[in-house]
């Protein structure tokens, strides 16, 4: 188990092969093929309606795929769960009411084939202090931690988390990820869906970007950023200029002009800036900075949103503004990221 040869010989933790799932007219998962290997910490990203929750439902065997196959550890999801190899925490997972936190966690441990001691589970989830409180009288963040306790009631090989830190404050979120890192360090595979991109950036060693049920990108956070255009460049131009000539700059992946302010994204910032001076322009307040995962994500999902495809009409996400192709929406996202970066 500790040797590399054993790792390569072991079947994939998760294996999707050409999996498709429709809900009525909507194709939630569209020909998804992916493999998770032991010990990986994987973030699943995507705008609302991208098919993240559907993918996790299929992965956990809560719904059958329309076509293709889903295997966990070389068996069906149900068999893997029954063997105690999978712990999962879903947003849609409710809790039994009228019982205490300790009673519910005791049940979780009793149902797990490879259970940890109850007190240990409570302590790890940070809920020892509220163990005697009734479910139903907990805050959203406390409920999340009870769900986490249920997901880690035994020694699982795979932990699946759907938006795990929703409802948690900053301190709780940090404590949560510290616990999660411990789990990953013990060789467990961790798959989490999140909309906090900084979490994916900081924790995952592999990032999957999902949009309209398809896998848009698969790689490390750094690779995803590089793929989307690694650098952003911004400057002011006070003299008159020709926008078409800006658009023709080398290695450009994105151009946004607002009055005198020009914002670019480039795969090779040095070459782009060099060419900019070559145009005879004098950019003022020139800034070159790395692209956050969030902007990379927006750039990727916008590029993936092919207006001619038509298959995505009617999906929940298209109208939500998350995938909106208008520059204003993107700017708002970018501004939020900057504010978050400044806060860190």
């Amino acid at each position: 188990m500790t040797t590399t040869s054993a790792k390569t010989a072991a079947p994939a933790v998760v294996s999707f092969e050409n999996v498709t799932k429709d809900y009525g007219q909507v194709r939630a998962v569209d020909g998804l093929t992916l493999t998770l290997r032991p010990g990986e910490t994987v973030a699943l990203l995507g705008p609302n309606g991208a098919g993240k929750s559907s993918t996790l439902d299929l992965l956990l065997g809560l719904r059958p795929p329309d076509s293709g196959s889903v295997r966990l550890f070389g068996t069906t999801p149900r068999e893997a769960i029954a063997a105690g190899r999978v712990g999962a925490m879903l947003q849609s997972g409710g809790l039994m009411e009228g019982v205490t936190v300790r009673e519910l966690v005791t049940l979780g441990c009793a149902l797990h084939p490879k259970a940890h001691p109850v007190d240990e589970v409570l302590a790890r989830a940070g809920i020892s202090g509220i163990a005697d409180r009734k479910i139903g009288k907990l805050s959203g963040g406390q409920e999340q931690r009870v769900r986490f306790a249920l997901a880690t009631a035994g020694s699982n090989d795979l932990i699946v988390l759907d938006e795990p830190t929703t409802g948690m404050d900053v301190t709780a979120r940090q404590a949560f990820w510290a616990t999660m890192r411990e789990q990953a360090d013990q060789g467990r595979t961790v798959l989490f869906a999140t909309h906090y991109l900084e979490e994916a950036d900081a924790i995952a060693d592999r990032v999957l970007v999902l949009d309209r049920g398809r896998l848009l990108a698969d790689g490390s956070a750094a690779e995803i950023k590089a793929r989307a255009g690694a650098r952003r460049i911004s400057f002011d131009l006070t003299e008159p200029y020709d926008e078409e000539r800006l658009r023709a700059l080398p290695h450009l992946t994105r151009l946004d002009v607002r009055g005198n302010t020009v914002r670019l994204q480039s795969r090779d910032a040095d070459a782009t800036v060099h060419a900019l001076y070559g145009l005879g322009l004098y950019p003022r307040n020139l800034e070159v900075a790395g692209l956050g995962l969030e902007q990379a994500f927006v750039a990727l999902t916008e590029a993936g949103a092919d207006p001619g495809a038509g298959t995505g009409t009617g999906t929940e996400g298209t109208g939500a503004g998350g995938t909106g192709t208008d520059g204003a929406g993107t700017d708002a996202v970018a501004a939020r990221t900057e504010a978050e970066e400044a806060a860190l």
Partner: protein, 246 residues
């Protein structure tokens, strides 16, 4: 599985409303309308005295309450809130949740039967042979499984919001029309002919036959078995349908 049943029991026993309606209420109702043993008044159309008639009716009513009312509303709500989904992420087999509900309902219906019997023997002076007490307890207890299956089916059929009114209509309809609250012999002819085919009528019939010193009528037993197949089949079908979209 055992832990789940235990937790369901603990939770129900903690719920005072539930205890009142399943254990206290049938016994109290029996005390009020059960009449007295002396006077030799027979219930119209039967060979039974008032206390004996109402003892079986109220024990059946209590058992019906325990397995039907609490369960279906809880199943409907827990489906909606995602607890059923959460359990599917554990090693508990898919049908474990439903079996747990039926097992705990069956255990909870026992006190309501025993308390009514205790009040009947202690306060109302109902006297029966030892085998009759045992057979009555067994028959009423076993018969409650029919309604436990109905409770599960209803729980998967209705949503959390509509559960209560729907269950209440079914519950009172079956109790009153089936003759648990008053003998169906007081109903007009046409209503009697309908009531005869209700599961609750056959259910009360089991106990009344035993009280008269005989074994339950074949018609009642067959009718209950038929209803059990229909309710359990319906529950299984609805459960499977729910699993596919849960």
């Amino acid at each position: 599985m055992n832990t789940l049943v235990k937790l369901e029991l603990v939770r129900a026993l903690r719920n005072k409303k539930y205890l009142f309606f399943t254990v206290i209420y049938p016994a109290a109702l029996f005390l009020m309308i059960g009449g007295t043993q002396n006077g030799d008044v027979k219930v119209y159309g039967t060979q039974l005295g008032l206390p004996a008639f109402y003892m079986v009716a109220m024990a059946s009513f209590g058992a019906l309450t325990a397995v039907l009312v609490g369960q279906s509303e809880q199943i409907a709500k827990e489906r909606e809130k995602g607890w059923v989904r959460q359990l599917r992420l554990t090693a508990l087999p898919g049908h474990g949740y439903v079996l747990g509900k039926i097992a705990s309902a069956a255990l909870l219906s026992l006190p309501s039967i025993v308390v009514v019997f205790g009040v009947a023997a202690g306060v109302k002076g109902v006297r029966l042979e030892a085998w009759q007490w045992a057979a009555l307890t067994g028959a009423i207890w076993a018969g409650s499984l029919v309604f436990a299956a109905l409770g599960v089916a209803l729980g998967y059929l209705v949503s959390g919001d509509t559960a209560r009114p729907v269950v209440m209509i079914v519950y009172f309809g079956l109790s009153i029309l089936g003759g648990l609250w008053m003998p169906t012999t007081v109903y007009p002819d046409w209503l009697q002919r309908i009531a005869e085919w209700l599961p609750t009528h056959a259910y009360a019939g089991l106990g009344q036959a035993i009280e008269l010193g005989g074994s339950p009528h074949a018609k009642d037993v067959l009718l209950l078995a038929g209803y059990f197949l229909v309710f359990a089949g319906g529950a299984a079908w609805l459960y499977r349908k729910d699993t596919l979209k849960a």
